[in-house]
Amino acid sequence: MSTPTSATLPTLLALCVAITGTLITIALCVLYLRRVRMDRPAIGTFNGSDIVVLFGFIVALPLFYLILPLTPLLVALGLTFTSALVIGLRPMIGPTATWIVVGIVIAANIWMGRTMLGTVVGWQLFWIENDILVVCAAVTTANLYVQGGMRLRHVAWFGLILAVYDAIFTFVWPVTNTLAQRFIGWPFDPSVGFRIGIYNATIGLGDLLVYGLFVIAALKAYGPRAARGATIIAVLCGAVVPALLPVLTDVFIDARTDVIVPAQAAFGPAAFLYYRWLRRTYGAERTMAGFLGELDVDRPSTPALAASVP
């Protein structure tokens, strides 16, 4: 009989949380992209400099998180979630209903985070509520970018840079670990997680956002077939590999035995290579206008290759 300290349970839990979180996020991202049109600015489309800005945020944000006292940090997180939810829901259910729903979800998150964490069941209920919040934020944000003109090329480069960043900040300067620890047990935890027994397993909002971006950018650029390939990469390299790594080595299990893995380090390079392959095989990416014009159509491969296919 295995003891609670064995690696099996946390690994299985991490695997389940990561795969489920990733798949649900991706599915909802795709559904949202196909069904809902978000407002966009009069002039402007996502471009390379937005990646720089985005990355600047991602680099700066954890530092903020570490410096700021917890209360203003939670307020900032609450505002971020609120705006993400409002932006995402408004095109679907109108402004009034949006504010009601968002109000309830946010209030419930605070209340559950403050009162229900005494028991495992309480933890589980909190996680489920928080997970809904986080997945919605990821779906909304991914769609905001892709519907705003972000291309697979942008996502691929973004993923590659994040891979380096993630590895550095996990192994060399483990801010990521400290951060993940800091939020657990507080409202607006920016991760999808679940608890069984004494184990908490999480997958970060940032990771889910990147997977969602990758899949819907592939769908927009090259159609459903490319999106399926992207999903497989996201699940394997973004969820399965990071979750299984602790089985091979224990560097990913910290003092509290929560599993901390630089998920982007595995996903980024794979995503980038996949993008290069798609580009070589199918040519230039479709624009948003092209995507909306032929919603479920796969991009034919470039003529030379197509001719060689029987």
Binding site: A42, I43, G44, T45, G149, A289
Partner: protein
């Protein structure tokens, strides 16, 4: 996307506070708009509000005019030798200037500009391009524009063209204005470059060469009314029709465009014709025509007044007046004019309009030059537009109209070449003009005298070695 927002903000701040535009930022904003269309097929909602100052009401409009005029006048008092002197001579206080006090300042005329051009150049500005007026009245006037002015005008023009889908990356613009109208030509080319469109500047060349270039190729055309008339005649002679052209819009600038020529151009060339007002001296202030035939004046970049021809004060509804235009700083900075009397005559509309541009103040279309009005009796002044429209409506379609008119014994006498009146008796001719409100007797002249009767811009033929084209034929 974020950068685009910053650029939009910078532009808006320049427009609101009257600070000089950052031309690089403006130029990149055009590229952003083009990229947006590439990605989404169209701009987002409310795109037009980006460059059009949305005036909430009249008070808002007056406030914008007052602030812009004061800013412009203060700068002129400081930097323009002519206006420093002019203001002092007329006791005009630039510091407290507004649309009302402006009325006390005499207008600036073409003679002022002709006699002292150097005194109009503001200190510290860097003239870059000289452009000459190519009107048919009098000597050519030279106006200097700075690089800044050209870049701002081109970028704002390109932005407006993109926002209104008047120009996109797939377009080929063919330009038929005199090559000496360097500002117009340069701005066309710059605008096309910013949007990524192709630009073919041909000038006033042999019409058959122009048609050869146009057929199956150009998608937009910028052209003078008289040259457009010649193109239509030539196209019909060659049996060309809409299927032979790819045009999607025709921009007509300066000169009087008659409904007859406009309708024929739309029918033969297969594209809508827009009739615009623009003038070298008051670049970049323009007016655009609406479906009701009004001329709507751009109030963002300049102040437009209509001064009664006889009274010299604001024209009453229904009265004829001359357009007096003041381009604002920061749109013009090098050789700006204040209260420039264009001598282009319009009629003040009798009341509010309900066309598609109802929010923008309007006058009648330009009716002609003030010097060309014909006073038959003190109560009856005949405008060049009435005459052009009536002559171009003749069954023989003598386009562009060649005629001479003058009062004779309390009536109007119109001299027309024989070709123009072909197929009509004297009585028929009198009826034709009477139906158009003109009590006229017609004197028929020999055809060879036609070109000398009325000068039009298409007479400014640019020669080539290849084509020997009889001018004015």
């Amino acid at each position: 996307m974020l950068e685009t927002g910053v650029r939009q903000l910078r532009m808006a701040l320049s427009m609101v506070w009257g600070r000089p535009f950052h031309t690089d930022s403006l130029t990149r904003l055009v590229a952003d708009a083009v990229a947006t269309i590439d990605e989404f097929g169209e701009l987002g909602l409310e795109a037009r509000e980006v460059i059009e100052t949305p005036f909430a009401d009249d008070a808002d409009r007056v406030d914008h005019a007052d602030r812009s005029l004061r800013r412009t006048a203060r700068r002129l008092a400081e930097l323009s030798p002519f206006y420093a002197e002019w203001f002092a001579a007329h006791g005009f206080q630039a510091r407290t200037a507004d649309a009302t006090t402006l009325l006390g300042l005499p207008v600036t005329t073409k003679d002022h500009l002709m006699s002292r051009p150097r005194d109009f150049v503001c200190r510290g500005s860097q003239p870059h391009l000289a452009t000459r007026t190519t009107g048919t009245t009098g000597r050519a006037l030279e106006v200097w524009l700075s690089r800044y002015e050209l870049e701002v005008a081109a970028a704002l023009g390109a932005l407006s063209a993109v926002l209104h889908d008047e120009l996109h990356g797939g377009d080929l613009m063919q330009v038929h204005v005199s090559s000496r109208a360097t500002a117009a030509v340069q701005l066309s080319a710059m605008t096309c470059r910013l949007v990524g469109a192709r630009c073919r500047v041909l000038g006033i060349i042999a019409v058959d060469d122009a048609l050869d270039a146009l057929a199956g190729s150009a998608t937009t055309m910028s052209v003078n009314a008289s040259y457009l008339a010649e193109l239509v005649v030539a196209a019909q002679r060659r049996g060309l029709g809409p299927a032979d052209f790819r045009l999607r819009r025709i921009d007509c600038v300066s000169e009087i465009l008659s409904p007859a020529v406009r309708a024929a151009a739309e029918q033969v060339l297969g594209a809508p014709v827009s009739d615009n007002f623009g003038m070298t001296e008051v670049i970049p202030v323009t007016g655009t025509s609406c479906s009701a035939g009004h001329l709507h004046h751009d109030l963002t970049m300049g102040h437009v007044e209509v001064l009664g021809l006889r009274s010299g004060v604001a024209a009453m509804p229904g009265e004829l007046g001359t357009l007096v235009v003041t381009p604002y700083f920061p749109y013009r900075e090098c050789m700006p004019v204040l209260r420039y009397d264009t001598r282009d005559v319009v009629r003040q509309l009798p009341g509010p309009v309900d066309c598609e541009q109802a929010g923008i103040p309007a006058t009648s279309a330009v009716l002609g030059k003030a010097t060309q009005l014909i006073e038959v009796t003190p109560e009856r002044v005949i405008t060049p537009r009435e005459l052009v429209e009536a002559v171009e409506d003749l069954p023989s379609r003598p386009w562009p109209a060649r005629f001479h008119a003058e009062p004779e014994d309390g009536r109007l006498r119109i001299d027309l070449p024989a070709g123009a009146v072909a197929g009509l008796s004297n009585a028929g001719l009198t009826d034709h003009f009477a139906e158009r409100g003109l009590d006229a007797q017609v004197r028929v002249l020999e055809d060879h005298r036609a070109p000398g009767l009325r000068r039009v811009r298409s007479d400014l033929r640019e020669l080539s070695f290849a084509a020997a084209e009889p001018v004015g034929a």
